[in-house]
């Protein structure tokens, strides 16, 4: 009897995840830092293997003071940003071309599926041969990785647009341009944002690859040098920098996505 009355006034059991808490997504990373800090404070971690958060912070402060961190971060951000920009543009243009015309599909889709199977790292020797070891090569490697993930997801979402909406556009005599603007672009945005988030990750991955090979600047170069002098704290600073940028850029994309896709009602709310 009491069991039957145990939820007397409540609404039904909620199966969705419930309301979002602001900045709740920081919980996991903060917990990770707390465990790290506790482990090194209790001398459970050997500082030669993994430096504690305190000395990493001190090293970071030193690096900021002599300007090395800012310089390297700036050049890294520039590379990742440029690669992301060109990659996203290429991915979107190719996805629209492949999605809206058969000729484009036959020309582009197979080619990009082949490219998808080849890791950027495998392309590196060829790209160095063609473009040298300068910024051009670095941005190209990053853009290639980004373009593929943006393309694959945008194209999948675009070709998945409900054919009823296409029929509606035809019945309203929309011009091709207006059709693209009002149906194709908004309809493929959910996939585009998935691709963009993967693309942002891909840009950081590409950055690490290009900065550790034949580079004289950037976070990757700084870490590579630290490895040679066994400065594990500098390596950690680099990793943390990568992590912060990865997290922040993903959060930025999510925020834009939430605004742009506000018409959607999903499980996440």
């Amino acid at each position: 009897m009491t069991e039957a009355l145990s939820r007397p006034r409540g609404t039904r059991r909620r199966l969705g995840p419930g309301r979002a808490v602001p900045f709740g997504r920081l919980l996991g990373p903060l917990l990770l830092v707390a465990v790290w800090w506790a482990a090194s404070a209790l001398h459970y971690l050997d500082p030669r293997i993994l430096t504690g958060p305190g000395s990493v912070a001190a090293t970071a402060a030193d690096l900021v003071r002599d300007g090395r961190l800012q310089d390297n971060v700036l050049i890294s951000l520039q590379r990742a940003g440029l690669g992301l920009l060109f990659g996203v543009l290429a991915g979107v243009v190719l996805a629209v071309a492949a999605g809206l015309s058969r000729f484009g599909e036959y020309l582009v889709d197979g080619t990009l599926q082949v490219k998808r199977a080849i890791p950027s790292l495998a392309m590196l020797p060829l790209l160095i041969l063609w473009l040298g070891i300068g910024e051009q090569m670095k941005v190209t490697v990053i853009a290639l990785g980004v373009a593929v993930s943006v393309y694959v997801n945008t194209y999948a979402s675009l070709t998945g647009i409900d054919s009823r909406y296409v029929e509606l556009a035809e019945s309203l005599d929309l011009s091709r341009w207006r059709f693209v603007r009002t149906v194709v672009v908004p309809g493929s945005l959910p996939g585009f944002f998935v691709g963009l988030r993967l693309g942002v990750t891909a840009s950081w991955l590409g950055l690490i690859v290009v900065e550790q090979i034949n580079s004289t600047s950037g976070i990757g170069y700084m870490m590579f040098q630290a490895q040679q002098y066994a400065q594990s704290d500098v390596i950690i600073v680099g990793l943390v920098a990568y992590g912060i940028f990865g997290f922040a850029s993903d959060a930025a994309v999510r925020a834009v996505e939430r605004r742009v896709l506000s018409w959607r009602r999903t499980l996440a709310g």
Binding site: R164, Y165, E167, L168, E170, S171, L172, D173, L174, T182, V183, P186, G187, L189, L261, W263, R264, R265
Partner: protein
């Protein structure tokens, strides 16, 4: 009350409808000659001849697979890649409304309504159309914030804002509940009286056909089997005995006999062959089958 021959322009000598006097002289809104459409080698439309006068409200009835939707899509010129032949003349401005409201979920209501029009006054015209269907003030709503009936009204506004010469509708009220449907009938008829497009509305609901139409076509095996002029006052009552007669005629034409039917003494469609022995659930029982229980509730235009 004898049905007129298929393919002839309706003579709209009904005093209760203010039919345009020039209907016979003006070129028709739609003319198909020998229209054939085939899917996988099977002819769905078999040499269909049809003429719709300007400003005429025509309802197209037919069982599933009779070719209703194929004909509508052909007239809407949306049948890409469908094999076929025959002549088809339609006006420039044609609007089509679907069984689902088909509002784009990423556009607000007003943006959905003005999707098919352009030019400086587009948004004002869209707002006016929304007000006409009773959705003033909902311009900034998202489609999912509207009820099913409201979504369908927004879709009607989207069709009408294009000032169509021909309005095509594919079971536009099929997904609505009975009460909403009754309201929508009134609204559609009211908007039709005001804008006077030619209307071709596909349905499988015989009551809906008699309630809305000036002319009812029954499609069977890709041809027009019955072409019936409905001569009833603008404000129609389902309890009107003549309403019942039209209804019974059309049900018989569709091969449905209801238990307790009176014999059809009023001259049913002679073109129609003997009804098949099996019935189709074309017409589910309606509240109007028990006329004493309701007071003329079908007419919200009052």
């Amino acid at each position: 009350m004898a049905p007129y021959a298929g393919g002839l322009t309706a003579s709209r000598d009904v005093p209760v409808h203010d039919a345009p006097a020039t209907a016979a002289a003006a070129p028709p809104a739609v003319r198909t000659t020998g229209l054939v459409r085939s899917f996988g080698g099977r002819d769905v439309l078999r040499g269909l001849d049809l003429t719709l006068a300007r400003g005429e409200f025509t309802v197209l009835l037919g069982r599933s697979g009779s070719g209703k939707s194929t004909l509508l899509r052909a007239v809407a010129r949306l049948d890409h890649g469908v094999a076929g032949s025959g002549g088809l003349a339609v006006p420039d401005r044609v609007s089509l409304s679907f069984q689902d409201s088909r509002l784009l979920p990423w556009l607000r209501i007003l943006d959905n309504v003005v999707l098919g029009i352009r030019g400086p006054g587009a948004r004002e015209r869209g707002a006016t159309a929304l007000a006409e269907v009773g959705l003033a003030g909902r311009e900034r709503s998202w489609p999912h914030e509207l009820s099913g009936g409201e979504q369908q009204r927004a879709a009607l506004a989207r069709a009408l804002v294009r000032d169509p010469e021909l309005l095509l509708a594919d079971e536009p009220f099929g997904a609505l509940d009975a009460l909403t449907r009754i309201k929508m009938h009134g609204l559609l008829r009211e908007l039709y009286e005001r804008h006077r497009p030619a209307v071709l509305l596909v349905t499988h609901d015989v009551d809906e056909a008699v309630e809305l139409a000036d002319r009812v076509l029954v499609l069977e095996d890709g041809r027009i089997a019955v072409d019936l002029a409905v001569r009833l006052p603008v404000r129609r009552s389902r309890r009107d005995p003549r309403f019942q007669e039209y209804r019974d005629t059309l049900l018989a034409a569709l091969g449905v006999t209801e238990p307790g039917d009176r014999p059809h003494v009023h001259g049913g469609p002679t073109e129609h062959a003997a009804p098949p022995p099996y019935g189709d659930p074309v017409h589910p029982p309606q509240p109007t089958d028990r006329p004493d229980e309701e007071k003329d509730s079908h007419d919200p235009r009052d």
